[in-house]
């Protein structure tokens, strides 16, 4: 039997030596995962806004075309915001990557099944929305490929990258980011824009 990827290992691998990457994480486990990899001022973990992570990534990518933006979210969060794939597909900013950690369950609400475990194909949906570079990631070699693509810059990128990473559904220790949204917003803007512009 093939070894299924573990979400914390996936996120640690993707965020190790993260260069100048801007990171948005969907609520719940993805927010704990990016925090377990090391809290960072240029990380914006969500505590709510379910279904909005990919659109926050789009807004950020359009505002900062020279910086790479990574959205790390879960299958449940992505499924709630599927329409955003259509909006992103119409723009396809090449500095945006969306990585869905797909454990086929709603982890925060008692591990109910999501529809990705019942045959719904997120990679197919992303491709149909116009995100040509959409990949299913199921093993270490796929994951290395995903990381290489996420960190490519400028003209080496061909459009928005979408990765659906199949991960296990083990219950993991909570590693909580700061909860104060004003703090998370201000530290992100100060780190990105400088204090004067961020607080103008």
């Amino acid at each position: 039997m093939k070894k299924i990827l573990q979400r914390r290992e996936v996120v640690n691998f993707l965020l190790h030596e993260r260069d100048d990457l801007l990171v948005v994480a969907g609520l719940g486990a993805p927010a704990w995962d990016i925090t377990a990899a090391g809290d960072h001022p240029l990380s914006f973990p969500l505590w709510g806004a379910m279904g909005g992570a990919a659109m926050i990534g789009l807004g950020l990518a359009m505002a900062q075309p020279k910086r790479n933006v990574l959205v790390v979210t879960g299958d449940g969060e992505m499924l709630m915001g599927l329409g955003s794939l259509a909006v992103i597909g119409a723009h396809k900013p090449a500095n945006l990557s969306i990585v869905v950690l797909d454990n086929e369950h709603y982890g925060e609400t008692g591990m109910q099944k999501t529809v990705t475990g019942l045959g719904v194909d997120l990679v197919g949906m992303a491709k149909s929305a116009g995100l040509a570079q959409s990949m299913l990631v199921a093993n270490k070699s796929d994951l290395e490929n995903l990381r290489n693509e996420i960190y490519k810059k400028g003209k080496a990128r061909s459009g928005t990258l979408f990765g659906q990473v199949k991960v296990g559904s083990d219950k993991l220790p909570l590693v909580l980011p700061p909860r104060d949204g004003v703090y998370l917003k201000n530290r992100f803007r100060i780190a990105l824009l400088g204090t004067e512009k961020a607080l103008a």
Partner: protein, 152 residues
């Protein structure tokens, strides 16, 4: 923006303005999160929708309020003065209550002059005091649509 007949001229002007980027949303709450991300990245935007889309935004507005992000929403009213379509009335009637309940400041213009004044004030206030503000554009300004007349 999510298209609305009342915003049609404004959308055309935005599309013609090379300094602006127009993003076509498929549902209104996408604009709340999109502009939240843009603000994180140091950009300003404005969200256009009609009142029937306000209900789609309710939970996403928690992003603007809990993070104190500036957000200006221009909302053309349906289910308002002289409405023809019964299905527009419930959300139109609830628009102001719903926005207020989510912590969004609500301003309203029922004449062209008042709309201009309220939008200018909302832009100034939202970006200087970091909060979501909606400006409702009354149906007296945009005119009520009557489908029976449109078919003639």
């Amino acid at each position: 923006m999510v298209p609305d007949a009342g915003h049609a001229n404004l959308i055309r002007l935005c599309e013609a303005d090379k300094k602006m980027k127009v993003v076509r949303l498929t549902s209104e709450e996408q604009g709340v999160s999109l502009l939240g991300g843009a603000w994180l990245g140091g950009e300003k935007g404005i969200l256009l929708m009609q009142s029937s889309g306000v209900g789609n935004c309710i939970n996403m507005l928690s992003l603007s309020t809990s993070c104190q992000m500036p957000l200006v929403i221009l909302i053309t009213m349906r289910g308002d003065h002289g409405e023809f379509n019964p299905s527009q009335v419930p959300m139109g009637n609830a628009t102001e209550t719903v926005l207020s309940a989510m912590g969004v400041l609500v301003r309203r213009g029922d004449t062209h002059e008042a709309v201009v004044e309220e939008v200018a004030g909302a832009l100034h206030m939202a970006f200087n005091t970091s909060r979501p503000i909606a400006v409702l554009i009354g149906q007296k300004v945009t005119g009520a649509k009557d489908f029976r007349k449109l078919t003639h």
